[in-house]
Symmetry: C2
Subunit: 115 residues, 2 copies
DNA sequence: TTGTTACTTAACTATATGCTTAACCAACAA
DNA sequence: TTGTTGGTTAAGCATATAGTTAAGTAACAA
């Protein structure tokens, strides 16, 4: 639990780059080879591969090499993890708003916003 | 559509840092002042404020100053946006898997993975 | 066996990020 | 009016990130 660089760090970091999000977008429609993934981008292949490494290191994609082509696919469970983290905080917030609403409804006093 | 730095970039970038996620976590339980937010961290106040600026710039939080204290709160709609982006890709992937399953069930032939 | 395709590795560079300290300012408290 | 609290601004620094080019390797094709 006290690892140096958390999974969420790597995941959100990976998703923070538009190139990498475009790759995830592409991969959400099915697996692809490295050069297929590279095609839409005006950057060198090594640059593309570095992006893929970031994605793979974060667990958002996996890949395997057959012959000389490496095929990459999405790892939906890891995407779920990021999604879940956000959802938990967002719903914590709205549950709090609900409780605050209840409190305001039940009392006529001015409520303390912060404890 | 072709803006220099997309909202999602800023959002995911903001969420990629453990300090900032901890702040969001704290804020999911209610608004807080800058110094309250700073308290758990072994870093200078300017550093904390820079993190808050990243969060605010990304739209994940808003703040306003009353007297000399600045109060920060979560912006759940922005969190939803990030969540939604992930969800869309994840579900696109699983819908694709479903269709592939149907296809495999309907035919005895070997399917084409890529179009 | 010669060339081409599909990556891979290495070395380098420019900019961005996450911090620091020092100095400042404005609100409130004594 | 003097000090303290709560934050802000500015400058600087070390490391990380996103890209580059150049050179290599291994698979398959002719």
């Amino acid at each position: 639990m006290l690892n140096q660089q958390s999974n969420l760090d790597l995941m959100f970091q990976a998703l923070a780059d538009p190139t990498r999000r475009a790759m995830i977008d592409r991969l959400s429609r099915g697996p692809a080879s490295v050069s297929e993934l590279a095609k839409p981008f005006a950057m060198s292949l090594p640059a593309v591969v570095q992006h893929l490494q970031a994605l793979e290191h974060s667990g958002l994609v996996t890949s395997q090499k057959v012959g000389r082509v490496r095929t990459v696919q999405i790892q939906p469970d890891t995407l779920s993890l990021a999604e879940q983290w956000i959802n938990d905080r967002r719903t914590a917030w709205s549950r709090r708003l609900d409780r605050l609403g209840d409190f305001l409804a039940e009392t006529a006093d001015e409520p303390e916003i912060e404890t």
